[in-house]
């Protein structure tokens, strides 16, 4: 055994150990979910279920709200992502590049959205929404999703914008690009990895949001996590496992597809010049 490891070199061993740790830690719970999703009976201490079954798959798909709610969730998540990009990216750019009064205070205020536990805020928020006529509206749901991500969408892109070299922007100004054009063609693409991260997060966060959606959207906007909550609290974990697989699959597909289109690895390799 030892000679084998010596033969394949230190680097390979390190990689192997890393992979094992990675799989055990991250994939473990996921694999567990997959197995669980197809299990009928699973007694201790058996390594695998003693009985396989598709029962919970049938069950989840029979829930008549499921398909609709998935559609609604994706719709809302898309709108939320686009809207927060539109609103937050300019702010992030301003934080990164412009000087204006109270800048630090503004930037700090975005911390509130996330650092302040929302549990105690829901009643006040609901009162406000009633007054503004946002209760039971799509806009209301979108807004409540957006406040969850305001901070991500400002802070992360701010950090990304700041890492773009001023010199590259200068040469774009030089060829006659207006500040906006410079932003669009130079700064934005170069800050893209960070913005992409923030956007993915926004999208997922919106897909996962239940409390606020319920408060503002029920009974008209029943999103996926709301259905999910009832399934996982009332049914054995197998049903939850099935649901999370259904829920995860389209997003992962999207991710893989986008990786192909968003040129190989914007995320990982970045742009490097000698």
């Amino acid at each position: 055994m030892l000679w084998y490891f010596r033969g394949i070199g230190k680097r390979k061993i390190v990689e192997f150990v890393l992979l094992a740790a990675f799989i055990l830690f991250f994939a473990g719970p996921l694999l567990n979910l997959v197995v669980l999703a197809f299990s009928g009976q699973w007694a201790y201490p058996d390594l695998l279920p003693n009985q396989w079954s598709l029962r919970w798959w049938r069950f989840v798909f029979q829930q008549d709200d499921v398909v609709q709610s998935i559609g609604l969730s994706f719709l809302i998540a898309s709108i939320v992502t686009v809207l927060s990009i539109v609103i937050c990216i300019p702010a992030a750019y301003a934080f990164a590049r412009l000087r204006f009064p109270f800048k630090r205070m503004f930037l700090f205020s975005f911390l509130l959205t996330h650092a302040f536990p929302k549990m105690g805020l829901y009643v006040s928020i609901a009162v406000l929404f009633y007054k503004l006529g946002l209760m039971d509206t799509l806009l209301g749901v979108i807004l409540i999703h957006m406040i969850n991500v305001l901070m991500f969408m400002t802070w992360i892109p701010t950090a990304s914008f700041r890492s773009v070299h001023a010199a590259q922007e200068e040469s774009a100004r030089d060829v006659g690009a207006s500040p906006f054009r410079v932003f669009r063609s130079i700064t934005l693409p170069m800050a893209m990895p960070g913005i992409l991260v923030a956007s993915i997060f926004t999208f997922l966060n919106s897909l996962d949001e239940a409390q606020g959606t319920f408060l503002v959207g029920m009974p008209n906007y029943k999103t996926m996590p709301i259905i999910m909550y009832s399934i996982i609290t009332d049914f054995p974990s197998s049903a939850g496992a099935v649901f999370s697989i259904i829920l995860t699959a389209p997003t992962i597909l999207l991710l893989l597809l986008s990786q192909r289109f968003v040129s190989a690895d914007v995320m990982s390799s970045g742009f490097q010049v000698k």
């Binding site: 029979q62 009633y130 209760m135 408060l215 009974p219 008209n220 906007y221 009832s230 609290t233």
Partner: protein
Amino acid sequence: GSANTNASSGGSASAPAPASSSASPSKADTVKFDFYFSGSQNVKDLWDTLIPMFEDQNPNVKVNAVYIPSGTDNQTYNKVLAAKKAGKGSGGIDLVEDGIVTVTQGQEDDVWEKLSAGSIANLANVDAQTMTDAGNMAIPYRSSAVILAYNSEKVATPPKTMDELLAWIKANPERFAYNDPSTGGAGSSFVQTVLYKDLPADAIHSSDPAIMEQWKTGFDELKDLGKYVYGEGIYPKKNQGTLDLLNSGEVDMIPAWSDMVLQQLAADQLPASTKMVQMTPGFNGGPTYLMVNKQSEKKDAVYQFLNYVLSPEAQTVIVDKMNGFPGIEVSHLSQEVQDKFKGVIEGFRTFNLGDLGTEINKRWQSDVAAQ
């Protein structure tokens, strides 16, 4: 599964069009009100059965039942409260189903309507004491019992009294578990029963803070018990938490809601060897309440519905479906049902400790959990 035959509760899911009842009464004489309830699948099944029955008999009232998945149920109350604070009336919520905590909270915030037999005739069938305990603001339309569930393969002769149970726990370390009392009624019932084990019988209807003095021996007992329960002091969260342990064979005995055990047995989620036993004196049970939003503009229709819910006909359905106890006194039900409860109902007790329930949880948290 999907016994969703009722159009009014199923169809409103995600249609963006506002289906609010106040806006669109379909016929001049038809009133449609909104009813928010939460709970497990069996609760949903119950209402899916009861509401059509009611609507058949009362064509002028339509009930829009909104099922609130657990996990988000706190928000129903938040919504009612917020609508009131914003001056927006009922906020589209006319009738709410929930536990005692929400009832008490609503009394403080003044959001529930006071109810009387004048508007709901069948209220007379309900135990007057229970109504008073709830400040006449909530109807205990059904009750469930907490029982002792155990693995009959491991436990041949289950304990019959509290003292026997305590002895069993100490004799079989780490084979018993009760859930954190602030996260579920089964655990809370166990804790309260231990605390009131040696107190006068009527103490369970008193919310007089003076009695707190006398909890000491009970809490000492619970503290001591910590060493013998599952994981030497682990109290799972929620009623389901202990059921999971029983299911996986990590413990042999737990206090649990009878309806949950029955339902999960039926669904193969618990091993067939699981059995139930009620002790004497029994664990306290707990009613589930229906509250009318004070801001509601459709109270008459709501009362009509509540009246039906408290009718013997509806209560019989409830008893069948929920494996629970009726909200009205058993004497009003059919003989058949009465027979079914013979021997069980005696052991069934309801505690009405008011705010003391919260005090117990707090003290448990600091004395028992954090010992």
